[in-house]
């Protein structure tokens, strides 16, 4: 028997197609893997299965209409996209927004961040076999959807911000609802951590898998929780604050190893810090206007003024007719923001007309995904879902 075990196992190289339609690829990704037995030797990802021409559409829609398109990019946290685009357009046109607008935007961004991280941890757990974390996460997400519906009108594609303000103010009693939901999210996060943090199977499947070193992270342009899990201390909310983030007191979660387990820990800790920021934003919410002055020609006046006063009707006419209304200066602007995936920014180039000349999204999913072929070499086939799940690739943002 001994000589049979001592001989090396001879295998042939096999090419496996991890196709565009597959339960463990989150969305439409295709990976062509070359395997030597169970070990992966080379990987070629193919993307573009959801390319919809977002950037070409941006040249035909005007500045406020494009906000509806930005929802559909990172569809797990659409409010972060809306805020990022509105910030870029406001920088281009040199607009000031009220403090109340900024605090409400922070509140909505942090709620989206909680929803995104809950779903990402849930999908990572489902891919590795732990179904319960997914169902717990979705229960909390449904309550966050209820909050979005109260404030904006829909669950997923919210289109809440306008260039220079918000679509409408938050309703009465919203803060009590948010506090109730935050308590529930806290409990759900506790439940998920009880199930997974000290779980022997979770440790075996996620520790020392897919390690990203600090130099690789900077060379490949990685940002967000993935970079922080490798030890890079860079959070745009702290280092380049936007939208009044400097008024809030929170910690930045950093881990040192850079494997899948560390990325999971960083995301769970970011959920706790987001809960803290939401509570502070409700405590310190200033009063004021969120709809900007229609005199500036940027957004529509409220409907009761349009129907009941002649000035409202004239402003409405002026703003909706083409080639009137919004006239930005000729120039360009790029504002980086911290989305749940990493650095999300919109680069808008304008030639003075009412639609942008070029709108470009800096997609964190695409840039984070490019390191995948390096991470998986040498690992086993069954580590591929774990690494893909921890990268948080969202096909809408990847392909645009």
């Amino acid at each position: 028997m001994k000589h049979v075990i001592d001989q090396p196992l001879e295998t042939d190289r096999m090419v496996l197609n991890y196709g565009p339609h597959h339960p463990a690829t989150h969305g439409t990704l295709r990976i062509i893997m070359e395997l030597e037995g169970e070990t992966v030797t080379k990987v070629t990802p193919e993307i573009g299965f959801l390319h919809s021409g977002f950037e070409k559409l941006g040249e035909d829609l005007n500045f406020n209409q494009y906000i509806t398109i930005t929802d559909r990019m990172n569809y797990l946290s659409p409010l972060c996209n809306n805020v990022a685009y509105a910030l870029a357009a406001e920088k281009l046109m040199d607009l000031e927004v009220s403090k109340r607008t900024e605090y409400i935007r922070v509140l909505m961004c942090e709620l989206s961040r909680i929803a995104d991280h809950l779903l990402n941890v849930g999908m990572l757990a489902v891919d590795l076999g732990a179904m319960t974390a997914f169902l717990y996460g979705f229960r909390a997400r449904e309550d966050i959807y209820d909050l979005f519906e109260k404030a904006t009108g829909t669950r997923l594609t919210t289109s809440y911000t306008l260039v220079g303000g918000l679509m409408r103010d938050i309703p009465e009693g919203f803060d009590k609802d948010v506090l109730k939901v935050l308590d529930e999210v806290d409990e759900v996060a506790n439940d998920i951590e009880t199930l997974l943090n000290k779980n022997r199977i979770w440790h075996d499947r996620t520790k020392n898998i897919g390690i990203i070193s600090k130099e690789d992270a900077i060379s490949y342009g990685i940002s967000g929780p993935m970079a922080r899990a490798s030890g890079i201390d860079w959070d745009i909310r702290v280092n380049e604050p936007y939208s009044s983030y400097q008024d809030f007191d929170f910690d930045v979660a950093i881990a040192l190893n850079g494997d899948v387990f560390d990325r999971y820990l960083v995301r769970m800790e970011e959920i706790r810090q987001s809960i803290k920021i939401c509570r502070q934003s409700l405590d310190k919410m200033p009063t004021g206007e969120v709809i900007i002055d229609p005199n500036l020609g940027l957004s529509l006046p409220p409907k009761d003024e349009v129907y009941n006063s002649i000035e409202g009707l004239i402003y409405h006419f002026e703003i909706t007719m083409p080639h009137r209304g919004m006239t930005p200066p000729v120039g360009e602007a790029y504002v980086p923001t911290e989305s749940p995936n990493g650095e999300l920014g919109y680069y808008i180039v304008s030639d003075g007309k009412s639609s942008p000349y070029r709108v470009r999204t800096r997609p964190p999913s695409l840039i984070n995904y490019s390191i995948f072929s390096k991470l998986i070499e040498g690992h086993m086939l069954s580590d591929a879902p774990a690494i893909l799940g921890s990268l948080n690739v969202i096909a809408g943002e990847l392909d645009r």
């Binding site: 439409t28 299965f49 390319h51 919809s52 559909r72 979705f138 096909a395 392909d399």
Partner: protein
């Protein structure tokens, strides 16, 4: 089975209703989720709106083992051959739900790269409007498929005479 031989008599109607009852209460959906509607479809499967109440709990990602194809999300020109191949692999009887505005008609994306409605190329049974549709809308569409199945006859699945 020739089309003319099957006439409605007592035996076949009872058989038809038994077969239809079995088929409609145990649909095995196959989600072809590409974009935001895929996330709403996951919410349909989760605890609040639970599609398992209708018997459609066994989500199989293999087309050979399912009978209801739910196309959720925009289909780009690179993805369309994949969708056609998956549709052809499903065995009869099969039904298709086109979920959302993008699968039904292209939605907001009237660009060079998005198919303006999958019903140009594959036959669709129920269209669900919305961007994205609410989970209750998807459940309503499943109930409409169940109503369609109720009205089916055995002679429907005879081969068409031109073949």
């Amino acid at each position: 089975m020739n089309h003319d031989d099957i006439k409605s008599n007592v035996l076949t109607t009872t058989l038809e209703s038994a077969i239809n009852w079995g088929r409609k209460n145990s649909l095995w959906p196959m989600p072809f989720g590409t974009a935001c509607c895929g996330i709403e479809f996951m919410a349909v499967l989760a605890a609040r709106t639970d599609i398992a109440r209708f018997g459609a709990e066994a989500i199989r990602f293999s087309p050979r083992q399912s009978d209801l194809l739910i196309v959720a999300g925009r289909i780009s020109i690179k993805m369309m051959p994949v969708l056609i191949r998956i549709y052809e692999q499903m065995p009869e009887p099969k039904w298709v739900i086109s979920m959302g505005a993008c699968a039904s008609s292209g939605g907001v994306f009237d660009t060079y790269s998005v198919i303006q409605g999958i019903d140009q190329f594959i036959p669709v049974d129920v269209y669900v409007p919305g961007c994205p549709p609410r989970p209750e809308g998807v459940v309503e569409s499943l109930m409409k498929i169940q109503n369609l199945i109720d009205k089916e006859k055995l002679s429907d699945y005879a081969l068409s005479s031109s073949k």
